[in-house]
């Protein structure tokens, strides 16, 4: 916590405000909750998707379906690393004809999202696919952009963006970690 190389950007209140705004933006552009399906990308996309769904349900009434979309097996760098653990994929309703909102914590190279497109294609044919991320840190390597962004956070590639969420880590925080200066 007192690590001088770590700089906290956001706490619990800011994250909550951003998610509330994003939920409203999704509702506005979708014209309500009808036909929506939120899919969180493990690990931290999942609790974020649940929070967005809860805010939407509180605003509009009626539950918004939430699922999990693991993309491990679809990664393009599978061969460059030791065998990775596989996360869960839980899709509560057929995705055909729905507007799927992919939810992740940090958007960086865009490769995770590209893999998510491939994973979605094996599950069906959604009407549209949107992307919601808590933090957009730039440095895209593919032509991908987010539709709903919590915070644009310009970073250098030597920095690390760390998102902590109460459900998994005990507290809410967005922090930037600088590469150890020697």
């Amino acid at each position: 916590m007192t690590d001088p190389s770590t700089h906290t950007i956001w706490g619990s209140a800011e994250i909550s405000r951003a998610l509330t705004r994003m939920a409203h933006e999704i509702l506005e552009s979708n014209g309500g909750t009808s036909g929506l399906l939120l899919l969180g990308i493990p690990t931290r996309g999942v609790p974020l998707a649940r929070r967005l769904a809860r805010i939407m349900a509180d605003t509009e009434g009626g539950a918004v379906p939430v699922g999990e979309l693991d993309i491990t097996m679809y990664r393009d760098d599978l061969r460059n690393n030791p065998t990775r653990r596989v996360g869960r994929t839980v899709v509560p309703t057929p995705i055909d004809g729905r507007t799927v909102v992919l939810v992740d914590d940090v958007l960086y190279s865009g490769r995770t999202i590209a893999a998510a497109f491939d994973a979605l294609r094996d599950l069906g044919r959604p009407k549209a696919v949107r992307l919601a991320v808590l933090v957009d840190r730039g440095h895209r390597e593919l032509p991908i952009r987010a539709d709903y962004v919590g915070k644009d956070l310009p970073t250098s590639t030597s920095e690390k963006v760390r998102v902590r969420l109460t459900e998994l880590d005990g507290s809410d925080e967005v922090a930037v970690q600088r590469e150890e200066a020697r």
Partner: protein
């Protein structure tokens, strides 16, 4: 470590990881598009020197669903029947750039021997009367699911597992004993003295010839097939007498609590080691074992071949 030759090669963490990933793979079976790209570009040869339908098919499906190229070679109709040695066959295929061999052979130890000849990873799909590690893993998968449906955590610690029947000719029993040694299950072996393997007293599990006494204590009863084709006779007087002493008859099944899971690796000899009442019971895990077969083998293939080459291990 290279490949999967024995259930003893796996530590508790690896077993848990294989079973967890298998659970994910199991959901693929329910999807309209049964395909994952994880092993795209990998080549797997199923090399079966002994006949098999369910093991070979499930390995083939497992590889295909993970997008690997799977090729089946059986001893019949291959150069093996022209007199080529197993070593030459394997080295020929290996030099074609195969990533993994799935090997079934009628001789105990043949797969371990084969693994020393080739660069590719080797998976033991049953060697003689020695081992069949993926069968033990899918048994564990079905048992864990059963424990969970009973509302338990899915831990094997202290669970009593009775393995009953033709232990002498079984490769399933040794792999199960080795796997449960790591997982903490308490295995009791039940068989007529003529069908106990040599050195069973060194396996570190209880041995009994009183099925009824063991049955009252068990959480899982695994019945093994009487392997007539491997017997030259003289192991027991008649099938009827065997069934009366060591079969899961209707009478024994009637005494059994419905919380006891009934396993059988198949194919079943109904009326010999297992009655139809038990085989088709609500607490029978026989079909769960079969459906777990593909998922568990997908998981094993993913663990062995899903990462970088030099790191491709469990």
């Amino acid at each position: 470590m290279k490949g999967l030759l024995s259930a003893a090669d796996l530590n508790a963490h690896e077993i848990e990881s294989i079973l967890d990933v298998a659970e994910e793979m199991h959901t693929i079976q329910q999807r309209p598009v049964k395909k994952l790209p994880a092993l795209r570009g990998r080549t797997i040869v199923n090399l079966f020197f002994e006949d098999s339908t369910r093991t070979r098919t499930s390995f083939e499906i497992a590889g295909k669903w993970l997008s690997a190229d799977t090729i089946n070679v059986s001893a019949k109709g291959s150069s093996v029947s022209k007199g080529e040695s197993m070593r030459d066959t394997m080295m020929t295929l290996d030099s074609m750039g195969v990533d993994a061999f799935v090997i079934r052979h009628s001789s105990s130890g043949a797969v371990a021997q084969a693994a020393s000849w080739v660069k590719a990873q080797c998976i033991n799909a049953g060697d003689g009367q020695h081992e069949h590690p993926t069968q033990a893993l899918l048994d564990a998968f079905a048992m864990r699911q059963h424990f969970r449906t009973l509302g338990e955590g899915g831990s094997f610690a202290g669970k009593r597992i009775a393995i009953v029947g033709d232990l002498l000719h079984s490769r399933v029993v040794r792999s199960n004993v080795l796997l449960q040694r790591t997982l903490g299950g308490k295995v009791t072996l039940v068989a007529p003295p003529t069908l106990l393997p040599m050195g069973v007293d060194t396996w570190g599990c209880e041995v009994s010839s009183d099925f009824d006494a063991v049955l009252d204590e068990a959480d899982i009863v695994m019945m093994l097939r009487v392997q007539r084709e491997r017997m030259s006779g003289g192991f027991f007087p008649t099938a009827r007498e065997y069934a009366a002493s060591y079969g899961l008859t209707e009478e024994r099944f009637a005494r059994l609590s419905p919380t006891v899971g009934i396993c059988h690796p198949g194919p079943m000899n109904r009326g010999v080691e297992i009655s139809s009442a038990a085989a088709d019971a609500i607490n029978s895990l026989v079909l769960d074992q079969v459906s777990a077969g593909v998922a568990v083998r997908m998981s094993v293939l993913y663990h062995l071949l899903g990462g970088a080459d030099e790191e491709g291990q469990l």
